[in-house]
């Protein structure tokens, strides 16, 4: 057995760090687009329209059942062909586009459930009280419901974000060079040796990322739930 070189872990870490922004950009892009679709889905689920609710439910059910790696392949191989049928050629578009599309599709379903449960967690009395003092429904949502929903949604959102970051590592299977992809490239360049050290470096990196996300959301939650405490003390 080849001997283990702990010092190589540091060396790999330094080489991986420049690619961290790809992972982060992927997550931010997905949160933006997936979140937007998620809000629409959640709205469709809590509103009265039967057909939109059914469609939202079907969407969430199906995306929940599909493994992300399969979804990634379907989008990567299928979307260009599908769009070519409409006369749009996206074969030259970067791989990041497909990765963000895939994870937005999956993330939207998660987000829809997070938003919906947060919306439903706020007591109906709040809405009625706001209506009784003459707020419009937009004002009610923006000033009363949204601040309370945010606090409820935060832990679930943090969870979904961490999951997204971890599943994002699958993007290397279609050739995106994020930290995972760079790690695989490094192993390839070393002809398969130092694989263990490289994987350890990646593990440390992901662990730290998760830790940072979880801690910062914990702080944010504490900060945002200040109003809640004051309310219960009164």
């Amino acid at each position: 057995m080849r001997s283990f070189h702990p010092s190589y872990i540091l060396e790999v870490l330094i080489q991986l760090l420049p690619f961290l922004w790809v992972t982060v950009a992927m997550v931010i892009g997905t949160v933006f687009f997936g979140g937007a679709v998620g809000i629409l889905l959640a709205a469709a689920k809590v509103r009265k329209g039967r057909i939109t609710r059914l469609l939202a439910n079907i969407y969430i059910y199906i995306t929940r059942c599909i493994p992300s790696v399969i979804m990634l392949f379907i989008v990567y191989y299928g979307l260009p062909e599908l769009l070519l049928g409409f006369g749009i050629d996206i074969n030259h578009v970067g791989k990041g586009f497909f990765v963000i599309t895939t994870f937005s599709i999956l993330f939207a379903a998660n987000m829809a459930e997070v938003f919906r449960s947060a919306y439903e967690a706020v007591d109906k009395g709040q809405k009625e009280a706001a209506a009784s003092i003459g707020m419009t429904s937009w004002q009610t949502f923006y000033r009363i419901l949204l601040p309370q929903c945010t606090v409820v949604a935060l832990p679930n959102f943090a969870n979904a974000l961490v999951n997204l970051m971890k599943e994002g590592s699958l993007a290397y299977t279609i050739g995106l060079i994020d930290i995972m992809g760079k790690g695989q490239l490094l192993i390839g360049m070393n002809h398969g040796s130092y694989a263990l050290e490289t994987y350890l470096a990646l593990t440390i990196l992901y662990w730290v990322l998760t830790f940072v996300v979880e801690k910062s959301f914990g702080v944010l939650e504490k900060h945002l739930s200040k109003g809640k405490k004051a309310l219960s003390q009164a």
């Binding site: 059942c65 790696v69 299928g78 062909e81 994002g168 699958l170 263990l196 593990t203």
Partner: protein, 250 residues
């Protein structure tokens, strides 16, 4: 875009042959990791200091790293490590590299699922009120009896939805077993696709198979839930009626 429907239908039935492997991976992993996870949850709840710290570290590690990475990591580490152990430490002439690779898949998924389930069990055990345990102890039950007869039957009910989620997550992550050359649904369909570059059809097939499997799992859990919640029936219908009335009012 034209789908090769003939290929798609053929591959669908070929991919069905991989279902036993996928289900085997899911079920055996669940069966192995559930007891371990339960004791890990207990260790955390009973405030065993060192054990609690170790378990927290383990759970945080597993939850903080992607499954793919765990697969790649263990798949590159385990065979050599096992080989070293068998050849140099134990001195046997047994060839580790002939082992079925599904073994490594089991190890990865068990490590993963144990962490997930231990959190599920812990939160479920915490939902059972403190008073239940104290009452059981005052009527002279041992702690073990209290857990088996009082706490667990109640905790199971609140754990079921999360166990269902964990099972579905596990089922989905077994699709990554193709990286360890395990012949599951994904691997079979991928190989079939490689002959004629019919990737999109093959992946759609895999999708269908997973949707069917997930639906089946959700159905099974619904049935189990109905059975496990039997003792709650009267209160549940009451709650349901109340909820319906509330909804009407709104």
């Amino acid at each position: 875009m034209e789908l090769n429907t003939k290929f798609m239908i053929e591959t669908f039935f070929d991919a069905l042959a991989g279902i036993p492997v996928t289900l085997k991976l899911t079920l055996i992993t669940l069966l192995v990791s559930a007891p371990i996870a339960f004791f890990m949850a207990l260790g955390k709840i009973e405030k065993r200091k060192i054990a609690g710290k170790l378990i927290s570290g383990y759970v945080s590690f597993i939850r903080g790293t992607p499954v793919v990475l765990q697969i790649l990591f263990l798949y590159s580490l385990l065979p050599t490590l096992l080989n070293y152990l068998v050849k140099d430490v134990l001195g046997l002439s047994f060839n580790v590299f002939q082992l079925d690779t599904i073994l490594y898949a089991y190890i990865v998924f068990v490590l993963n699922t144990t962490a997930v389930l231990s959190e599920v069990f812990r939160s479920a055990l915490l939902t059972v009120g403190h008073g239940q345990m104290e009452t059981a102890l005052t009527i002279g039950m041992t702690k073990r009896q209290a857990y088996i007869r009082i706490i667990i039957p109640q905790a199971v009910v609140s754990a079921l939805p999360n166990i269902c989620n964990a099972t579905i997550g596990l089922l989905k992550s077994t699709s990554l077993a193709f990286m360890m050359s395990v012949q599951d649904v994904t691997a079979i369909a991928k190989v079939k696709a490689a002959y004629g570059y019919n990737y999109i059809e093959a992946y759609l097939d895999i999708c269908f198979v997973y949707i069917v499997l997930c639906s089946a799992i959700q159905l099974v859990f619904k049935l189990i839930e109905r059975y496990a919640c039997a003792y709650k029936k009267s209160s549940r219908t009451k709650g349901g009626a109340l909820y319906a009335r509330n909804k009407e009012y709104i």
